[in-house]
């Protein structure tokens, strides 16, 4: 079986990609895609640790990842609704347009 640290490395790299996307892109849809990638990286960690645990009896890590997927689905639904609302108000999905609270 593939050692645990290789899964963790892949997860760290995926998280970095998602973070770079969130920090550098100004299209709201792409920012949400970056958030999804970061959530998926966390899920990969859950599954890897679950599979490599010495105690095989329980499915805890698996269930935690499932709940994380559920929360991510709720998050993306609300996030995309916000983008639609922003688009209705500004005719653009550019996040720089939403700056009326900027000091």
């Amino acid at each position: 079986m593939v050692p645990l640290d290789q899964y963790l490395l892949l997860s760290a790299l995926l998280f970095g990609i998602g973070l770079a996307g969130v920090l550098t892109r100004r299209n709201g849809i792409i920012v949400l895609i970056g958030v999804e990638l970061m959530l998926n990286a966390a899920n990969l960690n859950f599954i890897a640790f679950w599979r490599h645990r010495a105690d095989t009896g329980a499915a805890d890590g698996l269930l935690f990842a499932m709940f994380a997927i559920g929360v991510a689905a709720a998050e993306v639904a609300v996030g995309l609704a916000l983008i639609i609302a922003l688009y209705r108000a500004r005719r653009s999905v550019n996040l720089d347009e939403a700056k009326e609270l900027k000091g």
Partner: protein, 167 residues
């Protein structure tokens, strides 16, 4: 087993890179599909078959379809392609590289993992069902409430914009 994981990891990582780096949102969404399928395959190598299927059904089947619908509802071509949100861009990428480097340093710096892969097969559907219907019932109920609230909230947010624009 030998080459499966490196191959899947490479494909997944490159597709994830494309998902955040490609200019056109439709291509980014399609690249995200490849990354999510790669992750589902990696879940299969970890013998988490059920979660791999959930990953495909929920992410590729629902989330990406939602993203593609929103891409079609909005005109994305007027988003300026130059001058990204986090100025300068190198600052945003630098922060991401720093965080990733820190994570990798922590992983590489751990001399020995206390956990070892067990010999037998991992818990199957029976344990998942018992967990969902036993210890994790409160979490499952909370998830149901959360999804309902999110659904109503998403509809309300998307509808309110229309009603104000009609006035």
């Amino acid at each position: 087993m030998g080459l499966t994981f490196p191959l899947l990891a490479t494909v997944t990582w490159l597709a994830a890179l494309g998902a955040v780096a490609l200019r056109r949102p439709v291509y980014a969404a399609l690249s995200l599909v490849v990354a999510l399928l790669g992750l589902a395959a990696i879940f299969l190598t970890l013998e988490a078959q059920f979660l791999g299927m959930v990953q495909i059904l929920v992410y590729v089947g629902a989330v990406v379809v939602l993203v593609v619908f929103v891409i079609q509802f909005t005109r994305n071509d007027e988003v300026p392609l130059t001058g990204l949100a986090f100025r300068p861009v190198s600052l945003g990428v630098g922060i991401a590289v720093l965080v990733t480097g820190g994570l990798i340093a922590c992983i590489a710096g751990t001399p020995e993992w206390a956990v070892k892969p067990p010999e037998g097969p991992p818990p199957g559907m029976r344990q998942i069902g018992e967990g969902l219907m036993g210890v994790y019932v409160p979490a499952l109920e909370a998830m149901g409430v959360l999804l309902t609230v999110a659904l109503i909230g998403a509809v309300l947010i998307a509808m309110r914009g229309r009603s104000t624009s009609l006035h």
